[in-house]
Amino acid sequence: MTYMTKSVEELHELLIKGETSPQELLDEAWRNSREIQERYNAFVTVTDKAEETEVTDHVLSGIPYGAEDLYSTKGVLTTGGFQALCDYIPFFSAGPADRLAETGAVLAGKTAVGESAAVRNPWDPERSAAGSACAVAAGAFPFALAVDTGDSIRRPAAYCGIVGYKPTYGMISRHGVIAGVSSMDHCGVFARSTADAAIVADAMKGLDIDDMTTWDSSDVHLRAALQGDFAGKKLCYVKELCDIRNYPDADETLKAHLANFMEKVVMLRAHGAQVDEVSVDRALLEAVSSIYLVISCAESTSNLTGINGLVFGPRGEGRSWAEQIKNHRTRGLDTSVKRKVIVGAYVLKDENQERYFKNAQRGRRLIVDAWKELFRAYDAVIQPAGTGATDAAVLEDAMLIGSFGGFPSITIPDGFVDGLPAALNITGNCYEDEKILDIAYGIESMMDYKGQIAKEVRK
């Protein structure tokens, strides 16, 4: 019997009936994780011990899961993807991991940080993937935690044929999660169904005295809100992103992704949803990636100052504290991080802040305002997610807007192009997570891609 390909609710039922045990599930999760590590390099750590767990009424009790290596985990190596933290063992767990532990969910492994060329996509090992997305898609466990800063849950979910959900900013605590871009970092989840994503977010969310960006979501019940009835819902898509006529040099893959998207638009209309085409100033869309670059580099530079090797990480060599820090950072930050820090340092200089950093923040507001205007008339904005098309930059960058605004945003699989997963992203206004997940749940229910496990289509 294979368990890790099942949903959380299916596993809970088996546990309650006594047809399996938390230890049997964990053993399988460990076994699968080691195989997936061997094949796709998705893990930093596969744990080898866990506290004994009892099966309770909580649907997550006894369920194994993974966490991106940005989440501090008590007693378990947490590198944050940095060589500089190669030996860091936290003495506490991140807020979301603590809340999951309270439910009885069991940490089975720490996954590689972000979308990385070092992690192979389980559908096509010649492509890259994010560690948590790869692990869930390949069947290590039913869900995994990750951090979405730009679109780093929602885009890898698309590539791996699974669900990726980023809630409204501040709904889930980031205490103990290694900070990247503080004004855009969101804790979220990869799963193989909207219901599983909702269950996990329900368990993790809530006020946290250790994270002052959290807000009271005690009246939000994501799983309970999933009814799937979206007749009468008003959706829109942005013509400048989704109309093939915007891409005169489109290759066959992009054409197929956009055709797949338009098929879904027809399907939604047939099921009673209103789906309108709307227009947004192209100047806004073309500036999205530049705005992200400036803000993300600036905030990363600030957050990375804490990496100095004195309090944690291997101590650098040198005769003074300054030499030791410099040696530690030179060896411990890789080229991609140093590039960000150089740009960040430049845009944050007193004489440059107004021109670069503040202007990027102004642009961010105008883009968010444009999306909020859409939300005044529509329940959600939809778009194809993760087409991978290099000739459609505005489309590929558009999910960054979900992070700019802190909007709830979810990607679900919606078909295949060239044998690889295609996906649909649904984004709504802040605090409307229940509505957005319910729309996703309804759309997911019309198709056959829920719960799918990756099958290598190119070997």
């Binding site: 030996d87 900013y169 004004s183 100047a283 291997p314 950072r329 150089i342 430049y346 642009g363």
Partner: protein, 99 residues
């Protein structure tokens, strides 16, 4: 005249307390040289000059003051557990002032 140079990149790296290889310097220089193109895209957004900078996702976010209550602090031993060089109950650093 180009306002960026590898010397400037070196200066920024030094201020940020790391060294760069020659290859990294060239990459960072290209990144800085591309900044004006990025800013041109941002400048083209209608209304960019008068918009208020956005610093927080949630317009209605209100910080609530906590009760002024003493809470248990983290044991010093825990805080020192990941430091490589510790003396007594403090992080040890090279001497700053001689004599």
């Amino acid at each position: 005249m180009n306002k960026f140079s590898t010397d400037l990149v070196d200066l920024f790296a030094s201020e940020q307390m790391f060294d760069l290889t020659e290859e990294e310097k060239c990459i960072a220089l290209a990144d800085l040289e591309a900044m004006e193109q990025h800013m041109e895209k941002i400048d083209r957004i209608p209304g960019i000059k008068t918009a208020a900078p956005m610093t927080h996702c949630l317009d209605d976010f209100m910080l609530e003051l906590r009760e002024d209550e003493a809470v248990e602090s983290t044991p010093i031993e825990d805080l020192l557990a990941n430091a490589d060089e510790v003396f007594d109950r403090e992080i040890e650093l090279p001497k700053v002032v001689n004599g």
